[in-house]
Symmetry: C2
Subunit: 525 residues, 2 copies
């Protein structure tokens, strides 16, 4: 059986830095792996790897090959100089629209297109970054905020070289409907919380000039955070969809409906709070509009790529719909940036009318990555709720139109993965494992096509166990291994153990928010 | 309500370094607590503190006192020069025999004698050190061994300055009767385990010359490790005691019986294994004999103090009995070192005859510290087992002599604590908290006497939560906070995350073991 250390599919050199959880970039500690394991990591192999980049050949099977495998990781290499790293293979530059879903990914899924696979992992990492950056520490004054300043976000999460810069953080207020979305903040008499109700919910980022050249257009990436802890919110979902227009989204058709919990989280605000005086909706619309206007104004091609895992996927779908409906992806010269959603482990969001509007009238594309054993993509879809797995489309439309019950249907195109095909994962009954995002990225890394086997292309399998107990023991990776030393406790000079007081600036909203909201015809507050 | 940061009972300067879990001594990171909190930690207060040391006055109540409280911690200060630190107050030097139980601690428990309290915390820390030093890492080649070399053991566990040096590590072999005592070791094809069956089970240490001066005699401390994880072994206890003589302990009376699981662990060996070719029994007897002979030979007064928590307490009782019965505490000139047990959260060990022999004929002293809510001190004592809580002594003796059932009785003197009297601990239903050793040390620190309130004398309450979730939230100490960064995972040069291979020498047995066993009339193997 392949083990992490012996797997020949793994490239000798992986410039792709995986996500990390520390507040500080890693120290200089570097452990050399043993000589035997290092045999493939000579400089010679590295050059070969660069030369081979771009060829979409199948990676070698478990027989040890003298050729280092073509690494999709190569496509994901980051660096300030694309040419130097050999990433300018031109594929994405030429094919970005197709990869972005212009043809609904027809012909790209089975077998999977290697460029697409690389993109799916890349955007999945943005979604993962939202989790890794989140301050979960109940005793922290900044619980619920982002651990890193916007300027160094990607370095903080270990994605420096990713070629994006954060334009804005997104905040939401605690939602009654989704009560477990926020971490329980501990209100200590001693320390004032940064905010009673606000929570870091995602970010908007833009590709740098170099990355823009590599990917063929200026990409505005919007990433939404999923649930903090358990999946209790799944049980909290209401079975009654509501018209999107009730939430301020300017859809003319009142029969276009969405699950109201997601919509409330998306549109809720707390005018008393510095970070939530704008709803998440207002924040993302203002930012997307600003950036689209800016880059279209420079004559660039622009795309909007929205991503999220779990609850974050629902927010991604809703916000992508909203961006298109409100026209935040349109600039004053009439050009429209295409909007696409890369969704991971997402629940259903709206009814058949919502789907029609989303896909046809607005032309938003969505690719939904899921694990067939995960229950989240199957909800809402329980008692008294009708979904497309259980009922034929005509029946759903009837039920919907006649108001006979709650109808929820999925959007876009589905890419179904199965964790049981991976030789690295153990047979577990834990639903949290099925739902785990890092596990999905691992499954994508090995995915070749439907029933076409599993062969890793370069992503470090150890990442699966960052926050899960999913890898087989023989891979010698401890379960749930990402953690701070002593949970942040340190010893004072007099020998006592304490959580040290931390000062942190929490990034606020840009001053031009109101302006862009006005331009969109939305009142600020 | 008192909080850790504001509690005036806590001395400004605490030279007592709490136990730590890292393999390396702590780095230079020191966080200064805020100025407000530091107001008591001026050099002036420090001098006052030293001058006051030795006065056994009650510590100040929650009103802020201008006098820094008399700190028992002062009695626990460690340092290579006792005079410099002001520890040579003379109390222990003069009173050590009484503190060591020569008068069964009469008059010392209620109200509690401050010197005794300090000693109980000190030996409790030795028991705690066994846990802190244990390599729990399932994926480590050294799982089940001690993380530190014997020479630097106390530094490793954060007790440098404790004034003792490890003389020998103790190892036991996996026991069928106590199957959960050892950690599940992962047997990887890649790496050879240090031992399939051995487990680090405790140590023998000796007071340095300076410490000897402070405490009034050369102390040979024997500390036994308790259970690694859960208390499953409690259910595994057999209800049938067996004669100690069946295990090789040279007691002439076959009606003296002990619980056989403990005895098997104590006397088991695995001749194939380098570390278990001697049983734990053989190791401790050889070492104690050697040291007693050595120091009596120098004309010193010597004591043997045995300690352990939980299962370690049972081993402490059994080994103390054995040391006295076998005469390992006797030197060739006929002098006998007194033997005393400080037990924490200990179960019952033997029958009434065992108790008689232990206390009367052998004259071993035992002080059992327990939490009244903890179930472990109540076992064995379940169905078909008779114990002194349920039956009067005369009945127990009858049942015992007539062989009508299993009888287990506790030894020595009891010091019952109650976690509910501490204002720092939360109301929990978790039995693991009731049983937690650090919690007991916290309770000792605050103990004044029966129903005499709770006032901390200097031990850092944050230590309670090292491996438990017991402190109230308002003390801002995360639960179960002692942990290694990323569970030991590190990034290689090529960005991959791995557990680095570690080389470690595992301390072996001294070569003179056979000699001392011979001297005791015990065959080696």
């Amino acid at each position: 059986m392949a083990t992490i250390s012996s797997c020949p599919n793994l490239p000798a050199v992986n410039h792709r830095r995986p996500t990390i959880l520390f507040q500080q970039p890693p120290t200089g500690r570097r452990w050399l792996i043993s000589a035997a394991q290092n045999s493939a990591s000579s400089a010679g192999s590295r050059r070969e790897l660069q030369q081979r980049r771009g060829r979409s050949s199948h990676v070698a099977s478990s027989a040890v090959s003298t050729d280092p495998p073509t690494s999709v990781v190569g496509d994901m290499e980051r660096g300030s100089l694309a040419e130097k790293s050999g990433r300018s293979d031109g594929q994405l530059t030429a094919r970005w629209r197709e990869i972005h879903g212009s043809n609904n990914w027809e012909g790209l899924l089975d077998p999977i297109d290697t460029v697409l696979r690389g993109e799916l992992i890349r955007y999945g990492e943005f979604a993962q970054a939202c989790y890794d950056a989140f301050d979960y520490d109940r005793f922290s004054r900044y619980c619920g905020s982002c651990r890193y300043p916007a300027q160094t976000f990607f370095q903080g999460v270990g994605l420096d070289g990713v070629g994006y810069e954060v334009s804005r953080y997104l905040y939401a207020t605690s939602s009654v409907k989704v009560p477990n979305f926020n971490n329980q903040k501990h209100k200590s008499a001693d320390s004032k919380l940064w905010s009673e109700t606000a929570t870091f919910i995602g970010f908007v980022a833009v590709s740098t000039d170099e990355e823009t050249a590599r990917i063929g257009r200026r990409d505005i990436a919007v990433a939404w955070r999923g649930t903090v802890t358990r999946l209790e919110w799944v049980a909290d979902l209401t079975a009654t969809p509501k018209p999107v227009s009730e939430f301020g989204i300017p859809c003319p058709d009142p029969s276009v409906k969405v699950e109201s919990g997601f919509a409330e989280l998306y549109t809720g605000k707390d005018v008393e709070c510095r970070w939530c005086r704008y709803s998440a909706r207002q924040q993302v619309l203002a930012e997307v509009r600003k950036l689209v206007e800016l880059y279209h104004g420079r004559g660039e091609e622009v795309s909007v790529t929205v991503t999220g895992h779990s609850l974050g996927s629902a927010l991604a779908m809703l916000s992508a719909f909203d961006i298109a409906e409100t026209g935040a992806n349109a600039s004053s010269d009439g050009k429209r940036a295409p909007v696409c959603v890369f969704s991971y482990s997402g629940p259903r969001v709206g009814n058949t009318k919502f789907k029609d509007r989303f896909e046809q009238e607005l032309g938003v594309r969505a690719l939904r990555i899921l694990n067939v054993h995960d229950t989240v993509p199957k909800v809402p879809g329980v008692f008294y709720v009708f979904d497309e797995k259980t009922f034929p489309e005509w029946a759903l439309r009837s039920i919907d139109s006649l108001g006979l019950g709650a109808v929820y249907v999925h959007l876009g195109v589905e890419l179904a993965l199965d964790h049981k095909v991976s030789t690295f994962l153990k047979d577990t009954l834990d639903p949290a494992c099925y739902h785990n995002l890092e596990a999905h990225l691992h499954l994508l890394d090995g995915y070749q096509g439907r029933d076409q086997g599993f062969q890793l292309c370069g992503r470090d399998p150890a990442l699966v166990n960052k926050a899960a107990d999913f890898l087989l023991d023989e891979h010698m990776v401890p379960p749930v291994w990402r953690q701070d030393e002593n949970k942040g406790m340190v010893r004072t000079e007099d020998g006592r153990w304490v959580l040290p007081p931390r000062q942190r600036e929490v990034d606020d909203h840009p001053e031009d928010t109101d302006h862009h909201l006005d331009q969109l015809g939305l009142t600020a507050n």
